[in-house]
């Protein structure tokens, strides 16, 4: 693939990601924002492929789109009246929110673009990352790996405990 088309595809995916994220935030209809989040997650997965982290991209699609987004859609449909699809959600703190939005974006961009002493460009890594993730998981990061499995077990039990049907109520 030539460098030109690589750049064009990158900009297309970046535009999809940022525009759909903006739609998630600015639309008042909660169903629309849930479905727009789908495009944001796919765009971010494509950006991960550009960052040569293909395994992370696949994990992103499986976990976020297959898990978290389905959970969020379940929550939306559980807590909203589906018979009334034009339901709008209200907003508060719109003025401080806009100030914070502009402030955070401009402050981070200013920090990124004015001071480049923290950018250490070593050797770019190329190719697939799957084999190295396997090695790192089983050697340097074996303790966080096991701890994350315990965390997931605790989250599973905790979520089932919190959301269960309480028989004593009725």
């Amino acid at each position: 693939m030539s460098n030109q088309s690589y750049t064009v595809i990158f900009y297309i995916f970046a535009a999809i990601t940022v525009c759909s994220a903006a739609f998630v935030v600015f639309t008042r209809n909660i169903i629309y924002s849930a479905f727009s989040l789908l495009f944001t997650f796919f765009g971010i997965a494509a950006l991960y492929v550009f960052l040569s982290a293909d395994f992370i991209a696949v994990t992103q699609v499986v976990v976020y789109v297959g898990g978290i987004l389905v959970l969020l859609l379940f929550g939306v449909m559980f807590t909203n009246n589906i018979m009334n699809p034009g339901e709008k959600t209200e907003v508060i703190n719109i003025i401080p929110g806009v100030f914070l939005l502009i402030g955070v974006i401009s402050a981070t961009l200013y920090a990124f673009y004015t001071d480049d002493s923290w950018v250490k460009t070593g050797n770019l890594f190329q190719g697939s990352v799957v084999e190295r993730i396997g090695f790192e998981t089983m050697s340097r990061y074996v303790l966080p790996f096991e701890m994350s499995s315990i965390l997931l077990l605790a989250a599973l039990i905790g979520a089932a405990f919190l959301a269960r049907f309480d028989k004593t109520e009725n």
Binding site: N3, F41, I44, Y48, T108, T137, A155, A163
Partner: protein, 107 residues
Amino acid sequence: MDIQQLSIISIYHYLTISALLLGLGIFAVITRRNAIVILMGVELILNAANINFLAFSKYNGGMEGVMFSLFIIVIAAAEAAIALAIIINIYKLFKSVDVSRIDTMKE
């Protein structure tokens, strides 16, 4: 910044995207009243952090960012499950997920 700089994908492109996602996520957390949209904003913030980790990992040649982003995805999944369980409990109790109306810890 001329067109030559824009046409070569550098670390600044990824940092810009992640800054935009971070700002939008914080905006959602601050302004929305629906707890589920706040959760979506948190997911946007976590994804912005993930993009940053992977960008620095790519342009530095190390594996630390990749492993961190993997663990962030794990924790985001756990966080979403627990938060949805809490939101469903709140909905049972208050018949609403409007966070500005939830002002008691017990009914």
